[in-house]
Every structure is written in C-alpha cells, then in structure tokens.
C-alpha cells in the first residue's frame, strides 16, 4: 500500500480536467492505497455545498479522504457550515506531514 496526496488547485466549473483528478483519487483508493485529496486555492470553490457541487461523499465511500485548505476557504468566504458532505477543512500541515512520511504528492 502506498500513500498519496493529490492536491487539486482548480475547480471543476473552470476546468473539465478536474474530474480526471477526482477519478484518479478514487481509482488509487480502490487499489487499496491511502489517498488524500486536498483542495487548495480555487479548488476549494468545489467544496461549497450546492446543487452542482461534486459529490465528495462518493469519493469518501471510495476511500478518499477529502480535505479543503482552511486559508483558501476563508479567503473565499466559505465557512464550515457551507461545506459539502464529505469535505473537512484542514491546514497545509496535512500535506507536509504526508510528504514527511514519503507519500507520493501530485499537484493538479
């Protein structure tokens, strides 16, 4: 089992390509890896609950841990009560600590 942290900096409303990255996270998790999807910068715009929001709960069911950068959320006025199911706010230490344990880190 390997550890992965996938860092998504774009939102799916801006770029169709973000879907590839979410699916890669799910695919790696289904292959029994430890996978964290970390939303940062405009990537957190996907974390605001809404009708068009991606289903992060489904990613969670696939085994992906979904985190959203607390600074990026605050910068965009997205409070904890407005987060989609399946997303938790986190600091970037979640990325750094995983790098420190040898996780593969992929930035999109």
């Amino acid at each position: 089992m390997a550890r992965y942290v996938l860092i998504e900096s774009r939102d799916p409303f801006e770029s169709n390509d973000v879907r590839y990255f979410y699916e890669l996270a799910a695919s790696l998790a289904r292959a029994e890896n430890d996978v964290t999807l970390f939303l940062v910068q405009n990537g957190v715009l996907a974390a605001r609950a809404g009708e068009q929001a991606p289903s992060f709960a489904e990613l969670g069911q696939a085994g992906v841990r979904v985190l959203a950068d607390d600074f990026s959320l605050r910068e965009r006025g997205i409070t904890a009560t407005r987060l989609s199911d399946g997303v938790k706010a986190s600091g970037v230490e979640a990325i750094v600590d995983r790098l420190g344990t040898g996780a593969h880190a992929l930035w999109h």
């Binding site: 900096s9 910068q41 600091g91 230490e93 990325i95 790098l99 930035w107």
Partner: protein
C-alpha cells in the same frame, strides 16, 4: 512531524514566476509549515520560479488605495524567501534553495538574494534521492 534529532527532508520543485499565480504563495506556505514542523527543505526553482529570489525586486506605492511605499508595506517574493531562510536558521533546519542556472541565464535574473544558490538538474536528482518525498508544483 520530523524527529528533531534527525530531520527528514522534503523537496519542492517550483515553476511559477512571481506575481502571476497563487501557486507561489501556496508554495511559501508549504515551505514555511515544513520548516516550522522541523523538516529540512530543498527547493529547486525551475523556469520562471528562478525570479522569485531576484535581488532587484522593489516595492511600490499604491495610489489606488492612497498608500505610499512605506504604508503599503508590500513584501516582494525575495523578502518572503529571505524570511523563510532566516526562520530555517533560527529553527536549526536547512532550507537549500537552488535556482536552475540555465533558467536564470535566459531570464537575466542572476542576482539572487544571499542564501540561495545557482544549480542544475543534477541538484534536483540529488535532492530527490535524499528526500522522503518531492512535490512538484507545476505551472500552466
């Protein structure tokens, strides 16, 4: 978190020039967090990122907001990097910032702040081998 007796090392590869994208600031946040959590940090600055520590950056006033240079208090990216270098020294971990030399030459930004150094892809190869992990922050 790193063991304080034998700090582990993390490498970051940066590609973006200053003032064009949020990625530079996020990179600084990651480097800062890694230093504060006791990791040794390598930075390989590639392509436009070699301009991040360019010594000739200068702050400016902000007439739109009615602020002079002093009150605008605008850190250039070189100032952020100098602060990160100082913080690493204070915490007794290493921050080794290497600018890819050919990228420096073609952009004419050889004057970099003290504490950074000129290097080559050979440095990145060594960094990667010596690190627990390497995060590439790509440009677009």
């Amino acid at each position: 978190m790193a063991d304080s007796d034998t700090p582990a090392t993390i490498t970051f590869v940066l590609n973006d020039p200053p003032y064009e994208n949020a990625r530079s600031t996020t990179a600084f946040r990651l480097i800062d967090t890694a230093i504060r959590r006791g990791f040794n940090v390598n930075v390989f600055a590639y392509e436009g990122a070699v301009a991040l520590p360019f010594a000739r950056q200068a702050p400016h006033a902000n007439a739109v907001h009615g602020r002079d240079v002093a009150s605008e208090d605008h850190p250039n990216t070189k100032d952020w990097i100098a602060a990160l270098l100082a913080e690493a020294a204070e915490r007794q971990v290493k921050l080794d910032w290497v600018n890819c030399g050919l990228c420096v030459d073609e952009r004419g930004v050889a004057e970099a702040i003290p504490g950074t150094r000129r290097g080559s892809p050979a440095d990145l190869a060594k960094f990667s081998e010596a690190s627990r992990s390497t995060l590439v922050i790509p440009t677009r």
